[in-house]
């Protein structure tokens, strides 16, 4: 068997059913081995999108997405997608071709030291030197990518190693010395957490991306309902908890829900679950949680104390730690009733913002469009987002009802992520509608994936809130640079309806709420991708806003 065949067989053994990629000189043997393989190969129009598709696929399946690229420019094109997955702890196995072993270090044609380039944004990288190493390396790549705190792993295979023939052994069990992720929590730490929670008068849950990565939705809900306390999330944790639940408060942070930002600073104990205290969620590290006790549950020991010193740290998979916590608490907790002072305060806060925040007055606004979208989509529909104002409006106005159905590039904030990721998600879950909540600038970056959506029959909906503006940057220029616009206008170019049509997709312009409703309904019935172009006002700002370097209490609501 050749090295290339061994790769494909090893992928099949891992249960991979789809790979996203694009061929070139250095991975020709791999593409040849794909012929007749038991795998679906989805040909992309740009390798960055292959990585984002693999990422979107991985977020839905909660196992590694796989992408292929050739050496040199193919491999470097993957990097943005790999870095995006790394920042959001998404499991991925990226397979690149490399120049033949003897050519490495000779500045050969299309030679890039991709392991060096990818080092800061991969969990690990392999380069087999002989073909017989391939099966074991692939097995290890999947194990490392998916276990512990997930992340992307690179397998860089020199062309002659792909071509070499050898007798292959496919191991079922592997061990990686020096790598042993912690799964089960230390009971004594959980005990300390129980005491802190019981002592607190105003405890609050702050659920992060780790809950979604772990799939610990039922466990989180059990804890919230046992304690009967408010639940805020980070933006990455959006949808870890149903946002129509009576305890839900939505995401905190720079563009958090105002009620979430308000209530968390009134709490006396924060239970942070699978969240890494990013500057975007908590503002200034020294101000956040001042005078409160903090319990931090995370699988990565290096996250403990990195940005924030905490009182109790529970290291382990939150699914398992939450079960233990709920079990220990259940024996001791006296259930709060629904009108206890803390939950009453929650209601007051929500009511206060409902009364004071005025809507932007226009026939068609981001908020109204997103509320309409939510109303017409089934609860189990999947939403991805692009980056910018569109993304923050999605955070504010699009409620996630079914946990784990909302995905965004949050850590890296990669424009162009949402659309290919939605195609990857659709490949993973063809039975539910998938929508990319998009801005024009972002969609522009990877819109050529329309070809993939059409040809591969993966019809998704691009919900394009079109201000013909790099809107988020324009907002900062309005706020911090006295409206001096620089490099943000898109000058009505291109026409997105025509773009859609050029690829054989459907393009609909919606200029009123009635047209929008019709467009969404048409899109939901369509068997090709639909771009709904929704012209919105370029001057609209996203509020609330917690300016960088300030703390949550300094939130500007814009009211």
């Amino acid at each position: 068997m050749t090295g290339a065949k061994a790769l494909i067989h090893a992928l099949e053994k891992e249960g991979v059913d789809v790979v996203f990629g694009l061929p070139g000189g250095a991975n020709l043997p791999i593409y040849d081995a794909l012929v007749g393989a038991n795998l679906r190969h989805i040909l992309v129009r740009h390798e960055q999108s292959a990585a984002h598709m693999a990422d979107g696929y991985a977020r839905i399946k909660r196992k590694s997405g796989v992408c292929f690229a050739t050496s040199g420019p193919g491999a470097t094109n993957l990097i943005t997608g790999i870095a995006t997955a790394y920042a959001d702890s998404i499991p991925m196995v990226a397979v690149t071709g490399q120049v033949p072993l003897a050519m490495i270090g000779k500045d050969a044609f299309q030679e890039t030291d991709i392991i060096g380039v990818a080092n800061p944004c991969t969990k690990y990288a392999f380069q087999p030197k002989v073909a017989t190493e391939i099966p074991e390396m692939v097995k290890k790549a999947f194990y490392i990518a998916e276990s512990g705190r997930p992340g992307p792993v690179l397998v860089d295979i020199p062309k002659d190693v792909q071509q070499a023939t050898a007798e292959m052994k496919f191991p079922d069990l592997i061990k990686v010395r020096g790598y042993s992720p912690i799964v089960d929590a230390d009971l004594s730490e959980v005990g300390k957490a129980v005491e802190l929670i019981l002592k607190a008068e105003r405890p609050i849950i702050m659920a992060g991306g780790g809950v979604i990565l772990s799939g610990a939705f039922a466990e989180l809900q059990a804890l919230a309902e046992l304690l009967m306390i408010p639940v805020v999330t980070t933006f990455k944790g959006k949808g870890a908890f149903p946002e129509n639940h009576p305890l839900a408060m939505g995401p905190i942070g720079m563009h958090g829900h105002p009620e979430a930002n308000k209530i968390i600073i009134e709490a006396d104990c924060i239970i942070a679950i699978g969240a890494r205290f990013s500057d975007r969620s908590v503002g200034r590290f020294d101000e956040f949680g001042k005078g409160m006790s903090i319990i931090h549950m995370d699988i990565d020991p290096a996250e403990i104390g990195k940005n924030k010193s905490v009182d109790v740290a529970i290291v382990g998979d939150v699914k398992s730690s939450l079960r233990t916590l709920v079990k220990l608490l259940g024996k001791k907790v006296v259930k709060r009733d629904a009108d206890n002072p803390w939950l009453k305060r929650r209601k007051e806060i929500i009511q206060y913002y409902q009364e004071t925040i005025k809507d932007y007055a226009r026939e068609i606004t981001a908020k109204k469009s997103l509320k309409k979208l939510r109303e017409l989509l089934p609860a189990n529909a999947i939403a991805t987002t692009e980056v910018g104002q569109c993304q923050m409006w999605a955070s504010l106005h699009f409620d996630v009802i079914s946990p784990g159905t909302f995905f965004s590039s949050t850590g890296l904030g990669t424009m162009g992520f949402g659309f290919p990721a939605s195609i990857g998600a659709k490949a993973a879950r063809p039975d539910v509608p998938v929508v990319d909540i998009a801005g024009d600038g972002s969609f522009n970056m990877t819109e050529n994936s329309l070809a993939v959506s059409v040809l591969e029959k993966l019809p998704v909906i691009v919900f394009l809130m079109n201000n013909y503006m790099l809107g988020m940057v324009a907002q900062w220029q309005r706020t911090f640079y006295n409206r001096r616009y620089s490099g943000v206008h898109q000058h009505q170019c291109p026409d997105y309806v025509k773009i859609a049509e050029a690829y054989g997709a459907q393009g609909i312009r919606a200029q009123s709420m009635a047209e929008l409703e019709k467009a969404i309904k048409t899109a939901l019935k369509s068997d090709v991708a639909t771009v709904i172009d929704i012209p919105i006002d370029p001057d609209e700002d996203v509020y609330p806003f917690v300016a960088p370097g300030t703390s949550l209490k300094d939130m500007i609501t814009g009211a």
Partner: protein, 165 residues
């Protein structure tokens, strides 16, 4: 933030290409301040020992250790207790020494510091000196007056004392 202290971090790592790159790239990416780093083989053929010295506050040290442990190729990491460890550095110091008084003074100092003269030329003397970094600093400060032509230090190697592992 607590005051800076001097720490020795001892790491067992896979003995294979690319590992040193991963470790130093981590230090650069996270702005960890490294004073010295040494790598060499151990009693086990497939493991190398890296000895890292750093001036850090407690919190940064804690992060450095945890981030090192996260690397797949790093098998074990310990912060050594200075009182329960032995640690040494080797330095080669080449001094300008032409006139006989200077020469005999240098020989004298080298003797006191248990250094070895490993090369004598018409105009220079090279001393090999082993000890804690403090001891090497002290010797260097003493002989600086004669003019140091070249100096090479290995960085610290260390092991726990006795039966400590």
């Amino acid at each position: 933030m607590s005051a800076n202290g001097w720490y020795i971090v001892s790491a067992l790592v896979e003995n294979k290409p690319g590992v040193l790159f991963r470790v130093t790239n981590l230090f650069r990416a996270r702005s960890f301040n490294i004073e010295s780093i040494t790598v060499g083989t151990t009693e086990q053929q497939d493991l190398s020992r890296m000895t890292i010295t750093t001036n850090s506050d407690q919190r940064t040290l804690d992060q450095l250790v945890k981030q090192l442990r996260k690397l797949i190729d790093v098998v074990d990491v310990k912060v050594l207790d200075l009182d329960k460890s032995v640690y040494r550095e080797l330095a080669l110091i080449k001094m300008k020494a032409i006139d006989p008084t200077t020469r005999s003074e240098i020989l004298n100092y080298a003797n006191i510091f248990r250094g070895n003269i490993i090369d004598i030329g018409k105009e220079t003397i090279t001393v090999e000196i082993t000890g804690t970094p403090d001891k090497i600093d002290a010797f260097k400060n003493l002989v600086e007056q004669y003019g140091i032509a070249q100096l090479a230090r290995t960085g610290v190697s260390a092991l726990p004392r006795g039966t400590e592992l």
